[in-house]
């Protein structure tokens, strides 16, 4: 099959390099190997995550103890506060959740789990990471330009975001927008690679229903991303022109419309939630199946509900705008579609819970993370119903209730999901086992404070506290001592949680160099990545041993077998 993109130059280049070790820069920074690119995404994402967490620390300190000089930052001015919350949100979603969950796990797992030697377009893959890196650098640079970083919230509603006169951060907001747009381009390139690879490059014998769920989810997420981001890219170009050359796309006095941006943003923004959710669900499903030693409860059910969720997610976007000035009649339509989306999501969670039934559950660290995902995401899911119902949303919109709700969804997705996947595939990535005790200490040290951060925020939200206010002293009803004690509980819990992350980093580096050797298949799992060396060499498998697939990925506890697992590549 030669009718594919073949790169002659790469051949020649590769021919030169073939027999001696390339310079480490070429090997680690200029590599086209999907595993190296995955690591680049993973560590860039982690680095950005640390920056995002630092921002959270600074503004939580300001909220709990207004006016103090925050250790490691100094006094927080209102402008800095706005910039911190804006960039915290943008970083956590665009530069942490997406690169880690989709790009890092996607790049690492797709070729390994479908039995291919690399992505189909390795050089586009590298380009994708490079654009992503540039976007991250631009974003970080935007924090230090004159006027400071952009402070108009991650939703970037015009006219505030469009006019320097309004946001006082002319350059910062343009750079922010540029960074986001470049990040979109990076993920479009990456997404095309993921989709094409999964569609075309599966190992012989691997049919559509033999693909591990995590890959389906990553690819469905990529498709959702590709189909939803287009209008926002167009909208971002328009906003960029508004900012830089003073056009009037979002200026009501010149025939534009500020509501338009909200629609374009959320037409992308809501599917985006599922773009990051689905890979996390996929990781969880795979981990649960492995450690419960169970076939997942209804493979097709999970797949179809995921697709249904994806399709429905295009019909619900305006529930972010119920009271934002859209026509009130439209709100009824979007209430109905929004509540309907709870059905497939509930079904996904039911299926995950039902998978536990009849299993033989081993509570390893990855399994704890997977179970925590379900338990915590349920809270995020049920509180979403309040916000999707237009009547209740009149009160809850833009309060801390919303904030606590989406942290209860994004935290399980981006943090719990990442730790789940990372601890599960760590042996494959680095060839050594992570320390289980340290892993469990880190787990409990993260999960317990997490709840103590956000449950007080639910209460504050119900008390009418609005978001994005840097100091509550101007609102007598919010400045009471009981309100402050709730804020302080949240902040102190955050400090405890951040402190426990040190355990994770210690565990990671220690296990990386000193951990117990993992072997090929430490978890006794079925999928193809466990059939090669840990870590896999270049090309993943020796060319003459490319795997062939004989069955689905979740054949655990099969009655015909003595062992409780049945790898995909073993002939019957």
């Amino acid at each position: 099959m030669a009718d594919t993109v073949v790169d002659v130059h790469q051949h020649e280049h590769a021919g030169h390099d073939g027999h001696h070790d390339p310079h480490w820069i070429v090997k680690y920074l200029w590599s086209t190997d999907h595993k190296i690119i995955a690591m680049q995404y993973l560590f860039t994402g982690m680095f950005m995550g640390i920056i995002g967490a630092y921002m959270a620390y600074v503004f939580r300190m300001q909220l709990a103890f207004p006016g103090i000089s925050v250790p490691g930052f100094g006094q927080v001015s209102p402008g800095e506060y706005n910039s911190l919350i804006t960039n915290h949100g943008s970083i956590m979603i665009f530069w942490v959740a997406m690169p880690v969950l989709i790009a890092a796990f996607g790049n690492y797992l797709i070729p390994l789990m479908i039995g291919a030697d690399d992505m189909v377009f390795p050089r586009i893959n590298r380009l994708s990471y490079q654009i992503f890196l540039v976007s991250a650098i631009i974003l970080l640079a935007s924090l230090f330009v004159e006027g400071g970083g952009f402070g108009g919230a991650w939703t970037s509603y015009p006219p505030l975001s469009a006019e320097g006169d309004y946001n006082q951060t002319n350059l910062g907001s343009s750079l922010w927008l540029l960074a986001v747009a470049l990040e979109f381009v990076a993920f479009l390139l990456g997404g095309i690679n993921f989709i094409t690879t999964l569609m075309n490059s599966r190992a012989p014998g691997m049919k559509a229903y033999d693909i591990p769920m995590v890959l389906w989810m990553i690819v469905i997420a990529s498709i959702l991303f590709m189909l939803s981001v287009g209008p926002l890219i167009a909208g971002a170009v328009m906003l960029f022109f508004d900012q830089t050359i003073n056009t009037g796309f979002y200026d009501p006095t010149r025939g534009g419309d500020p509501i338009l941006w909200q629609h374009l943003f959320w037409f992308f923004g809501h599917p985006e939630v599922y773009v990051v959710l689905l890979p996390a669900i996929g990781i969880t499903v795979d981990v649960i199946a492995t450690f419960a030693r169970k076939k997942i409860f209804g493979y097709k059910l999970v797949l179809y509900t995921a697709v249904a969720t994806g399709v429905l997610s295009f019909f619900v976007w305006a529930h972010h705008q119920f009271i934002a000035g859209i026509d009130p009649r439209m709100a009824n339509v979007f209430t109905i579609t929004t509540l309907l989306i709870s059905v497939p999501i509930a079904e996904l969670l039911f299926v995950m819970i039902a998978t536990l039934y009849g299993g033989s559950i081993r509570l390893t660290t990855p399994m704890l993370w997977a179970l925590a995902f379900i338990a915590e995401f349920l809270i995020g899911g049920v509180t979403g119903i309040f916000l999707g119902a237009s009547g209740a949303d009149i009160y809850f919109h833009d309060t801390y209730f919303v904030l606590a709700h989406f942290h209860y969804t994004f935290f399980p997705i981006a943090i719990i999901g990442t730790f789940c996947g990372f601890t599960y595939w760590f042996p494959k990535m680095f060839g050594r086992m992570m320390n289980d005790t340290l892993g469990k200490i880190h787990f409990w040290g993260t999960i317990i404070p997490f709840n103590f951060i956000f449950i007080p925020l639910f209460v504050l939200g119900m008390g009418g506290q609005h978001r994005r206010i840097y100091n509550f002293q101007h609102f007598p009803e919010l400045a009471g001592p009981e309100m402050y004690s709730l804020r302080q509980i949240a902040t102190i819990s955050l400090l405890i949680m951040l402190a426990f992350q040190a355990v994770f980093f210690f565990n990671m580096f220690w296990s990386w160099f000193k951990g117990e050797k993992a072997g090929k298949n430490p978890w006794k799992a079925n999928t193809l990545e466990w059939t090669t060396e840990s870590p896999p060499g270049h090309g993943n498998w020796p060319p003459d041993q490319m795997p062939v697939v004989y069955r689905g990925p979740y054949e655990y506890g099969h009655p015909d077998r003595e062992e409780d697992y049945w790898p995909q590549h073993l002939p019957s």
């Binding site: 402008g79 006082q168 189909l227 009501p252 010149r254 629609h263 295009f314 859209i326 026509d327 009649r329």
Partner: protein, 242 residues
Amino acid sequence: MSENNEHEHSNDDGHGHDGGHHVNYFKIYVVLVVLFLISVAGPEVGEMTGLRWITLITAFGIAVVKANLVIQNFMHLRWEKNLMKWVLATSLILMFLMVAGISPDVMNHEGNNWENVAAKAAVERGVDGEAEEETMVVAAPVGFTPQGAFQTVCATCHGTAGDGNGPAGAALDPPPANFTDAAFWADRDKQRIMTVIQDGAAAVGGSSLMAPFGALYTDEQVSELADYVISFAPDGAAPGGE
């Protein structure tokens, strides 16, 4: 590997219908050019007969037909697997969905309990009309007194006594100006105070926390307000008048 080989493969594997597509590309091209000519001529006919729908049909109807011809025959979508047709159709349908969801707000200029005043004004004045400074007609407060204005608006931050100790001022960084401080008046005149009230302190390089309030008051009122602000200055520190 031989390039020729590769190419032959592409015929076999790529299309599954060897020897090209048996399309007379030239014929399609001629049809496209003819359609194109009609679409250009359409508006002329429409203008002559005064029938606007002729223009619309020839313009957009033909665009759809032409696009379809190109997509089916030149892009060979006609011979492509159904899968890709579905993908492209989905992306197109999503765009219709998007337009359907957005148009009640953006295309219409009024709806249930709301009215897009600015857009209506824009339609009203046409493309050549100059936009007014302030489309929203908000009358300046009647019965203005400088004291009253200062106490309701300015005092929130600058304090009732003009000493910068207003309830909302405590959290601000930099703190609100203290008008009773002689040092404050060392390099300020009335014109600057008026500019700051109207355009905000950022307009003179100060803190952006001092918002522009120009929309609230007429020029005379701002002048009166500035006089009132100057009256806080300690003896001898007040800047000269105009």
